[in-house]
Structures are given as C-alpha cells and as structure tokens.
Subunit: 456 residues, 2 copies
C-alpha cells in the first residue's frame, strides 16, 4: 500500500463527527447558481475551509460566482496535480417532492440526504478533509495541488473559460483530477477520461403585449404555438436531430472508441426498474442504448412555460412562451456552432420572432486512456476498493473539462467520486452513502500517492 | 320612453354609493372556478342579494359550484324572461401585472378595476340593482323573471347541462337575456344572437417516474418533446387545423350569414394598436380578419408547462408535461366530437401515452335575428343610448347558450353589457366604466319594458 492507511483511517474515525458537521454546514448553505441564491456566502465558506487546511487561497471575482482557487503542498514537489470541483448546486424544485428540507443535511439508513450531497459538495469537502488527514498523518504532500472550485458549474460554467485564459500560466499541471464519476449498479467504481459538451439556450417568443381572451385566436399570434412549430423542426418523433446541417458536424467514432463503449458495463434492467420504464426510448436494445447514451448528441426540452398552468381551465391566449433547451455536444460540435446553426435554422423557416439566449455551455473533452492521471486513478482505485474500476471512455454528462483540459492541454481523469445509481442527482432527495463519503477520502489519499510515484 | 326614466334615474343617483359598495363586496369576494377558491361564499352572497330584492331564490348544489336560481315578478305577467349570468371569475394570475389587488374594487379616473368587473359580476349585480330600482319607482314588474346564475362559466359550465335537463320544466320562457356583449371601439352598444362553442382539454404525458439528469436523454422519453410533436400534428404553421377529419364537420355559412359578418363594424386599427401588433395573424386584411374572427374554429394553446421554468438553467429531463388546449367550436362541432377526433388522431400517430382530460365545454348556439328578445334588445338599445346597437351575428367567445337556448329551444340575445375594448377581460387590470355600470341598469329597465310590450 502506497501510504500509511492505518493512521489515515484512524484519523478519519477520530474526526468523523466533525467531518460530517462540516458537511452539514456545506449542505445547509444554499448555493443555487440558477438564481444566484447564497452564492457569495458559500464561496466564503469554501475559502474559509481552505484557510483552515493551510492552503494559499484566493477568491477570484467574476461577473457571476467567484472562482475559489487554492494551492497547497511543496512548490518543489516535482509534480503538480490540478483538482476541479464546484460549490454551486441545482435548484431544489420540485421542492414538494423532497422528504426533508433540501438544504438541511439528514442522515438516514446510512445515506446522507441534501441538495449537493452528490453533486458536488460531498466530493469537494471530502477531498479537502482527505488532504487534512494526509497532512496530519503522513507528513508533507508528495505533490503540489492546485484547486479550482467554481460556483457556476450547474449553469454551464459561464465565466470559467475567460478566467482560465486569463490565468493559464498559473494553472500548469501534470494532470487533472476532475469531479464526478462514482459507482455503478454493482458497486464498481467508475473512472473516465472525458465528457460530452453542453450548450444551454432559452428560447422566447412574444405575441400581443398582453394575455388576451382566447376568442381572438384567429387574429393574434400565439407564441406557444410558434415555439411548438419551431421545436418540431429540430428533432423528429423518432429522436433524430433534423436541425439543418447539425449532424454533418458530428465526428464519427473510431473502432477503438466503440469497443471501449461496448465494454462499459451498465445495469440496464435495474435502471429501467428504478425509473419505471418498460423499455428504452425507441425500444432499442441494451447494446444500442449504451452506444446511444455515450455517443449521441441530444436536444432536450428542459423546461417549457406559457400561459395558464394552474388547476382547471383558463381560456387565455398567452402573450409569451419560453422554452429551455440543452444540447449535449459530442465531437466536434461547440456551443457557438450549435447556436449559429440554430439561429440560421429558425430564421430560414420564418421564426425570426423567436429569440435565443445562450445560458452557458462548454465543448466536449477527451483524454488518452493511458495518461498519468489515468494510470494513477486505476492504481488508486485498486488500492481503495481492491478491485478494478470500470472504464467509461467519457462521461455522458457535461462539465467544463474543455476549458481546463483541452484548452490547457493537460490530461484529465474523473475517479473516486461518491455518486451512486440512486443518488437522485439534480432531483428531489439527492443523496450519497456515508460509507462512500469516507471512501472518497481514502481514494484521494491513494491517488495523490500514485500520481506522485508513477514511473511510466 | 316606455317607463318613467326620471324616477328610475333619480333612484340610481340616490343609491349610487350603496350600489357601488355592494359591487365592491362582489369584487372583494374571490370566486375562481378554476381552483374553487371562494365559490361557496360567493354563491351565498348572490343568494343573499336576491333575498334582499324580494326574489324567490334557491341555490342548487352541483358536484361543482352551486347554481343560484331566482324568480321574481307576477306569475301571471303573460311573458317570462330568462336571464343568465355567472358569479365565478377567471384566475387573477399573472398577479404581478395588476396595478392594484385583483380582489379589491378600485375606482380610478372613471374606471372600476377588479377581477370580475367586466366578466361578469358587474352585469349580474347591475341587473339585480336595476330590478330593485324598477320595483321602487315603477311598481310591479311587467314580466316574470327567471334568473340562472351559475358559478362555473369560466371553466366551461361543466354542470349546467345536467342541471338544465333536470329542471327543464321550471325553465320555460319566451326569451333569454344573456351575459356579455358591451361596446365597440366607437362606443356603439353591441348585441348578438349566438356564440361559438368551446371544448377545453388538458393533455398530459409522463416519461420516467422522476425528473432525471438530461444526460439520459438518449435513453428516456421526454414528455415535453412528445407533446410538442403531438401538437404540431394538430395545426400547421399557417394556422390550418390538420386534426384528422375535423374540418369536414364544420358547417359552411350561408350568404346571409357572411353578409351579417361583413356588416359588423370592428375597429381593427385601434385593436392592433392596443395589443401592440403590426398586422393580423398570417398578415390577412381587415375584411378577412373579421370573417376569421367570427367564423373560424380555433385550437389554442392556453398553457404549457414542463420541467424547469425558473431563472437560468437546469439540465433536467422532465418526468411530466402538460398542455391546456381550448377548441372554439363552430357549427356543427360539439365538444364530444372534438374529443373523439382528437383521441383517434393521437392514437393513430402512436401518441397513446398522452392522456386527454375534458375540463368543460359547450356546443355553439345561434338564434334567429328577428326573435322577441332581439326586437326588445334593439328597441331598448335605442331607448338607452339613442342610437342603433351594432349587430354581431354571434359572439366569437363561448358560453353555455347551447344548454339553455338550443336545448330548451328559447331564442337568446346578448345586449346591454358593460364590456369595452380596453376592459382587459381575463387579463390583469380588468375594468369597466362607472358610467357603463349604471347604463346597464337603464338598459335592463328598458329591455324589461320592451320585452313585455312587444306586439310583433
């Protein structure tokens, strides 16, 4: 074993209550990037925790949420590890479906509930606590750690790109340990080397300057119908994207990449059971479902609102309609390309009355499967769980890996995270296992060691 | 002049403050049929007001709102007039766009503001107050009046049909004075002999049993997309209804009917200016706009809701989506026919996962243009305003005329109402003119006289 696991684990046991108390403080501090609730206070909490750790920490203001940047470990350590996490969370609604207050940490039956437990406060704090435990039980860190903790991941990391460009010199590193990943249905740890990109748009259409009685429908444009017609030209009922020119930009995958996808284990039956589904979308086989999950670009209606949506009926011709769309991007589609194609597509069909607002996004990312952080994660995974992690060639979700990994040309890995298949990330009753919270600390310690010692 | 207008008007002047106070009580009592707020209390208020008038009044319970039925006037009067009004109102949202509390009557610059001022509490109460003024200044009523005041007009009069069938014997009459109508842009009073029908549906679709992270979009059905695709098969972007078989049921109009439509004056330019529109839907001429307004069947998206609709972005794959649709019906389409065709249309395209809930409706209605109530309204209009009312062959809105007029075979008229082109009916800041409130009483008195005395 590459570090003294006994003293390390003893420290986790001795400080278990305090570590969980600190986690409760992190969950208790609302930090919803979508409507900016609690963001400054949460950034302060993160800064303070890094100070307690003994890190050099700087909160960088942005036009949105501050980016908290911390460095710790010997400057002459030889290798530098960049860690990425985020302190913002998804909105809590529909709040009525939570069994307890989303912003109060509750431990029940070995699970820790609260918004942000899985995504991403648990991982952020457990890694900080892991470094504390390391320093108290192992001595100096064997690597210099640079930590980027942003507060806008859930709204597309809208200010990270610019910040990274501005501070590229400061951010040099030999590898990046990313957020996310977790465990699969059979409790195998997951690691991976990239992610899809994302572009999030809000489309709006206006009709008359006021809601009207619906008897005027023959005379006055209905913005809800306008959006319905426009949307129906983007994707057909068989789920094919028919946005003009879009699919031509999608890079084909190599045979190796398809093989890596096919080898990735997914517990399809359990997923369907958990979500109450008889079959996958379009009735595809599990084999094809996996390929679609990891390779398919998507356009998702995340929200639609117009007119009267309360109980019963109201005969109203709405003055406005709004739809929120997210595009999950695969190589070589960027948010800018998606927006340009969408605008042209709508204009070509006369939907010039529909406005498009870009609410954030980032390109897709891919790192080689045998990079330094990949080798370290594989070894650290074996150290921590005594089994091989499963390899996900890239994550079907999105994150700003592109900004740090692709732009700065540093290999990236995600591994050691606390997510599990019933974690209800982005949904009511988000949770992680208490056990996984502390295993994340063990993985972090092992990863630091392997990353420092790797000889390949 | 057919009645003593001097003593009648003097009574209105003497009791002006009390009459407006009573109106304030009616507006102040919330009575939103869509979510049932305040309905029983409002029904009680109406019953009490009829008692004060000296009417025999009975509140009939229904599975929804009570129907208040009142009779007043000599049983041997020779002629019987049925009056229809309703005490329920539209929901007040978007409440933030009101300049004052929707449920507090506010008088400002000669206008009376509040939810229900125009639709339909002003008309209901001013007619009651008119009968009071008549009894105090003219003696016995020259007609027997039967008054049907329901509390579910705004949600499609869901229980009126059954109640009318049950009490058909009680409801015999020589003519019906309906609610609605009002003034056009040039302050000419409007009268008419029918209305379009309506069918209000809520369509719902469900995907997974919970909101999911949108990265699962390649695997899991998105109910918002399902509704978008289904809706786009009902009406094309040129506003043509393409619901299978629907248009074949629409009765063509006679040349006389087209002439009546073409003769109906509408102040199109003022309407466009008020609503902030450069042109009518599809860019049609004013001549065609009038024809479309009065003759076209419509399918209106009144509301659409799915997923996250708050500020900023949330990358969610929604578990549910809901759309509210109203069909404005023309001859010979009934709500049942519309529902049957819609169900078959969706099923035929594989949208069996979309449920349809009928939230209320009624067939269209038409009465002859020279009936007893039509003659009385024309004469009473001249009596009251010293000018000819404009004739709207039928109302582009809807109401349960079908239940009373068509089913009971009693000619119907709407006339003498308080609506005006900036009344913002169904919208924030609903209002009527103070003057029109009292003119409604004068019209009611004149109409009663003309209805009783008509010799044709």
């Amino acid at each position: 074993m590459p570090y003294n696991t006994k003293s390390f684990s003893q420290y986790l046991d001795d400080h278990r209550e305090r570590f969980l108390d600190e986690f409760g403080q992190f969950i208790g501090q609302i930090s919803v990037a979508a409507d900016k609730r609690g963001i400054p206070a949460m950034a302060d909490l993160v800064v303070e925790r890094f100070r307690q750790l003994g890190a050099e920490v700087t909160p960088y203001p942005t036009p949105g949420s501050p980016i908290v940047y911390a460095e710790i470990g010997p400057e002459d350590a030889g290798r530098t590890l960049l860690i990425y996490n985020h302190y913002d969370v998804q909105p809590e609604d529909p709040v009525e479906l939570w069994d307890s207050d989303p912003f109060e940490m509750v431990i029940r039956d070995g699970l820790i509930y609260g918004r942000g437990t899985s995504d991403d406060k648990g991982e952020l704090l457990s890694r900080i606590q892991a470094v504390e435990a390391w320093l108290k039980t192992q001595g100096d860190l064997p690597v210099r750690i640079k930590w980027v903790v942003e507060g806008e991941e859930e709204i597309g990391s809208v200010h990270l790109n610019a910040w990274v460009s501005e501070h590229a010199d400061m951010l040099t590193a030999d590898g990046i340990l990313w957020e996310g990943g977790g465990y699969d249905e059979k409790k195998r740890p997951i690691m991976g080397m990239g992610c899809k990109g994302i572009a999030y748009f809000e489309l709006r259409c206006k009709g008359a300057n006021q809601d009207l009685h619906s008897s005027y429908a023959p005379l006055v444009p209905n913005p809800a119908w306008r959006l319905v017609w426009a949307l129906s030209t983007l994707k057909d009922p068989n789920e094919n994207i028919i946005l003009d020119g879009y699919m031509a930009h999608v890079a084909p995958l190599t045979e190796e990449e398809w093989d890596a996808i096919d080898a990735f284990p997914m517990e399809f039956e359990a997923m369907r059971a958990r979500w109450g589904l008889d079959q996958w979308l379009n009735g595809v086989t599990d084999h094809d479902a996996r390929r679609r999950y990891l390779s398919m670009p998507t356009i998702t209606i995340c929200g639609f609102e117009s007119g009267y949506t309360g109980q019963g009926s109201k005969t109203v011709l709405p003055a406005e309609a709004m739809v929120k769309l997210d595009f999950r991007l695969v190589h070589n589609v960027t948010p800018q390309l998606a927006q340009d194609l969408l605008r042209k597509h709508l204009d070509r069909r006369g939907f010039t009355d529909i406005s498009i607002t870009f609410l954030g996004g980032e390109g897709p990312a891919k790192s080689p499967m045998d990079s330094l952080p990949a080798r370290a994660a594989l070894a650290a995974g074996r150290d921590t769980w005594d089994k091989d992690p499963v390899i996900m060639p890239w994550f079907a979700g999105s994150g700003p890996m592109h900004s740090l990994s692709t732009v700065l040309d540093i290999p990236v890995i995600f591994a050691g995270a606390t997510w599990h298949p019933n974690a209800r990330m982005h949904s009511p009753n988000e949770n992680i296992l208490v056990k996984d919270y502390f295993d994340s600390m063990r993985f972090t310690a092992a990863f630091i060691t392997r990353f420092a010692a790797d000889k390949a």
